[in-house]
Symmetry: C2
Subunit: 176 residues, 2 copies
């Protein structure tokens, strides 16, 4: 019985060490790397327009940037930093020549939005939750099945957005 007791104590100690290490690792993970948004924000397709853009090169898309009411209000009032609760969405579609429009215009000049591509991206403002990434939670979802992108992809958002510090990390300006 004494041997069994000693063994149990030893097992308990080992378990304790493992649990403690796991906890430290989890804590370090939470502090050291950004937390990303993993759920597609509700109703984003009904949000108001912030602006539009066009990317050539590999992206080769035409895009719309939408904002929820908190984001749009901040944009219109020129309020910086964006308040908590602001969410900005980036939708993108293939940049397709429009045969139909070109015919109407009488010349090749018209490009329209084709199929959704390059994912659906969001920036969610929560200055506490996302303190380690400038108060913004970054998100990228597949445009078809809405699965979130890998952490490795999301890690690239913040370093790039940091270039726009004077506009609270937001690239897109509001188009009246």
């Amino acid at each position: 019985m004494k041997l069994i007791t000693l063994l149990l104590i030893a097992v308990a100690m080992v378990a304790g060490v493992i649990a403690s290490a796991a906890e430290r690792h989890g804590h370090a993970h939470q502090e050291g790397t950004p937390i990303f948004v993993t759920k597609v924000p509700d109703g984003y397709r009904d949000w108001k327009l912030v602006s539009v853009a066009h990317e050539e090169g590999e992206l080769n898309d035409i895009r719309a940037i939408l904002g929820n009411d908190i984001a749009i209000r901040a944009y219109r009032e020129g309020k910086l930093p964006f308040p908590d609760g602001a969410i900005i969405a980036r939708l993108a579609w293939s940049h397709d020549a429009s045969v139909e429009n070109n015919k109407a215009f009488g010349r090749a000049q018209s490009f329209v939005a084709g199929v959704a591509k390059n994912g659906i991206q969001f920036m969610v403002k929560d200055s506490k939750k996302y303190a380690s990434t400038g108060g913004w939670g970054f998100a990228h979802f597949n445009e078809n099945d809405r699965t979130p992108a890998d952490t490795e992809v999301l890690k690239k958002c913040f370093p790039c957005h940091q270039a726009i510090k004077d506009r609270d990390l937001v690239f897109t300006r509001y188009s009246p």
Copy 2:
């Protein structure tokens, strides 16, 4: 007194002929030429996004097409023709290379919306009022002072939109 009576009768007759002619002219005008929208629809900048587009050539713009709730519902439900009350707005801005974005992407590929240009256009559905132009009232306002375009400009809308009869004269498709 008799002379005065005769004169009054004569004046009344002449007035009657003029009034009748004016009425006929007005009627003919109403039947023969389209009626255009002369007032900017309220709150259009808050409407939901239909899609985006890019025009090269002389227009050289990037644009957003918005719809009021009636238009968006019809679009999403695939309801054609659009019901009365539907309004579609077309906003456009200069298609500007973004030095800021290109720096972030590490290559020249990014274009953003600059200043408003090429007017703000609307199609207002009222199958009775605009019966002579396919049930749509066309409008074009200056992007700065919101003055309506000349009738000569507006007369060009309908003939061109007639090319898209199978989608109730609406060029832009909805982008999910």
